[in-house]
Structures are given as C-alpha cells and as structure tokens.
Amino acid sequence: MEILGLYNYWAYVAVLMIGFYAVIAKSNLIKKLIGLSIFQSAVFLLYITMGKVDGGTAPIIQAGVSDQIFSNPLPQVLILTAIVVGVSTLALGLAIVVRIKESYGTIEEDQIHLLDHKS
C-alpha cells in the first residue's frame, strides 16, 4: 500500500490540470468557469488530503473516549469557508457572462475579440 500513499496527490494533479486545460484551451466563457470550478475543487482536495491522519476520525471529540486520533481540523475549516466563498464568486462570474452575452450576442471568446477589433 506504500505506492498508494501518493495516489491522492496524483488525483489532485490530474483534476487540477483538467481544470487548467479547460480554462486556457476552451473559448466558451461558461466552459472556462466550469474549468475554474474544477481547478478550485482540486485545491480543496489537496488541503483535505494533507489534513488526514492514519487511523484518525472526524475531529469531533466523543465524551468518555480518551485515546482517539483526530484528523487535522484546520485545513477543513479553511476549505469549508472557501467552498461557500467559491460559489459566491462563481455567481459573480456568471453574472458577468450574462451581461457579455447581452452586449455581444455571444459568449465565445474569439468572437468577442473579433467584435472588439471591428469597433
């Protein structure tokens, strides 16, 4: 099982890079935002992975049980708030996309650039 000790990190790299690819290679603005969400989820996965302790349990202390091992609560707190902040900023991005669609009639980046050059 030694070799599987780094599997979480590899999954993190794979998901991060898939999101990154969507952000830089796709021209559709919604696809870019989806890619950004995937990228963000990968970062969450990295943090939570780092907080895990072998044989540990969720950091909720049970009364009367003494020698429990707990996973690290700190990364969990950081990510918990980051998820909610992430969805609010995603909403902001989507609102801007809606306005771009209304002004340009398209949400494809290359067409927006063309329209910008014409005017």
């Binding site: 969450f44 349990t57 708030t81």
Partner: protein, 330 residues
C-alpha cells in the same frame, strides 16, 4: 478496503472531470459537474472531513448547479468548437503536470502523523477546545472562535459578491422591468402542472428546512454550522421557487428581506466583536460575554453562527432570484 474505495472514487473523479471538459453540450457538462461535486463530497467524507463533505454536497451539487442552469437559460447551451490551437495549451498543461507530479514525490504519504502540517497549531486546537469551549466539534470551534477573523472576512466576501451580482444583473438590456415584472405565461409557472415533482417536492421542503435548522443549531455537537445550514435552507427555498414559480417564492421571502438577511447577518457577526470590545475584551473574544468564560464562548459562537447562516442563506437566495428575474435578450 477503505483505501481501495478511495482509489476507486478518485479515479471516477478524474474521469468525470475529463467528461465535463470533453462534452460540447453545456447542459450535459453542468449535470456532470453535479456528479463531480457529489463524488468530491464522498472523498472528503472518507478523508475525515465531515463538515466539508456536508458543505460540498449542499453547495456544489445543489446551489452551483442551479446557478449554472440559470445562466444557461440566458446564454444557450451549445458550445461552438474552439478555433484556438489546442497544442500549445496541451503542451503547457503537460509540462505543468510533470512538474507537479515530480513535486508529489517529496510530499509526506497520505495519513502520515509526522507530516509538518500535523505538528503546528492543530494539536493545540484539539487539546484546548474541550477546556475553553466545552463542546465536541473542533471544526466549529476553530471556525467560529480560534479563527473568527478569517470567518468574518469570508462572510464579508460573500456579502460583497452578492452586492456585485445584484448590481451587475439589475442594469443593462435584460434588466427586470420594475413596472411590469416578468410574469411567466401560465404553462411555465414553476412545475405546477407536473404532479409528481410537485407532490414529492412539497413533502420534502419542510424536512429540508428542518434539517437546515438542525445543522445550524447542532453545529457545535455534530458536523454543521452556519455555512452548511445557510446553503441547505437556500436549497430548500430554491426548490420551492422551482415548484411554485418564482413569484410565489418572492412572496414568502421578498428580495428586500433577503438583502436584510445578508447585511444583518454580516453586521450581527461584527457586532458580537464590537460588544466584546465594549465589555473589555479583544475584538471577537467571546470570553467576556458572560461571567463564565466557557459559557461566554458558547454564547458568542451561537450568535455568530446565526449571523453566518443568515448571511449565506440570504446571499445565495438573492443571487438566485437576481438570475431568475433576468429576461432573455435576443
């Protein structure tokens, strides 16, 4: 066994992400994102992060899918094939992947108790929570008290994002007309004419809201707290809006009440800090709120969690209604 399950889930997660990026239909991509979030929540749960799993399930699979769908309704769901050369992007991604993979070999193995991240403040938090706050959920203790400044900042980010969305979506060609608010023609008033979703949904909504309230007020003893509760209750109300039509939902909770909830929640959080200062403590030091420092901490955490819950619930619902009220242009 758990390791194998985790490996399976992570592999599935990567495959789902590839499918999301591959598909040309944005509606399919958004639905797959819901699955992606749910898988991610399960992975978080396996990694002992129960609070985070609850948040990811409510926010990722529920609210953000809704927001994407609301946007797709206004922008169209077909992605045009990209003309950009994917080769350069692919090359950049490949090189970055190799560097990152190389870096992972220096990481401590999963679950290593001697990893640097486990040595710093975390043991202190685990040790001091029963003593200083006398309740079991350490995540809530760190969130609300030990790192209360962070959380206050996050609540204000949510508030700012909400203000931004409302500003952006209240002007421009598709702005909702205040004189004749968009009243959908009869067949599209929510899902009123679909019997099964309506009956099942209506049965579920009270339980969703009740569960949200439980998560809110039991957050010190079990996974939960203001962030999760706000998202769960918002999801319940969005379900109501989908079933009964948005107009009916706005009668129950008008936009002005929602904005009041966002601002009031953030202010409530800040005021607890100021009251603490007036009573002779530091900003966001709850120990002075009562004659007994431990019960002072508990009172403070209860109040700020209510503030967080109000702010998050109000913000998510206000954002949803801002998208829903927008008229499609062209």
């Amino acid at each position: 066994m758990v390791t194998l399950f985790a490996v399976f889930l992570l592999t599935l997660l990567v495959l789902t992400a590839i499918a999301v990026v591959q598909t040309k239909n944005l509606f399919v991509a958004v639905m797959l994102m819901g699955i992606f979030s749910l898988l991610m929540a399960t992975v978080f749960f396996i990694l002992d992060a129960a609070d985070v799993a609850l948040t990811e399930a409510a926010v990722g699979a529920g609210i953000s899918t809704m927001l994407f769908l609301a946007t797709l309704a206004l922008t169209g769901e077909h992605e045009k094939p990209s003309k950009k050369g994917p080769w350069i992007s692919g090359l950049v991604v490949a090189i970055t992947s190799l560097i990152l993979i190389d870096a992972t070999f220096e990481q401590p193995y999963l679950g290593d108790p001697m990893a640097p991240v486990q040595q710093h403040v975390a043991p202190w938090y685990l040790e001091m929570t029963p003593e200083l706050m006398d309740f079991p959920n350490v995540v809530t203790a760190v969130l609300a008290s030990f790192r209360g400044y962070d959380t206050l900042g996050e609540v204000f980010v949510v508030l700012t994002a909400c203000i931004g969305v409302l500003f952006i979506l209240s002007a421009g060609p598709g702005a909702p007309n205040p004189k004749s608010p968009r009243i959908p023609t009869a067949p599209s008033v929510g899902l009123r004419h679909h019997l099964i979703p309506r009956v099942v949904g209506k049965l579920l909504i009270p339980f969703i809201v009740l569960f949200g309230l439980y998560v809110q007020f039991h957050g010190e003893y079990s996974p939960g707290g203001g962030f999760q509760a706000g998202a769960i209750i918002a999801a319940g109300m969005i379900l109501y809006a989908l079933l009964e039509g948005e107009k009916q939902a706005l009668k129950v909770l008008p936009q002005s009440v929602l904005i009041g909830m966002v601002v009031g929640g953030a202010m409530l959080y800040g005021m607890v800090g100021v009251v603490g200062m007036l009573m002779g403590g530091n900003f966001l030091d709850y120990s002075v709120l009562s004659s007994n420092p431990v019960s002072g901490q508990q009172i403070g955490i209860l109040i700020i969690e209510i503030g967080v819950g109000l702010a998050v619930c109000g913000a998510l619902l206000a954002i949803f209604h801002a998208f829903a009220a927008r008229r499609s242009v062209g």
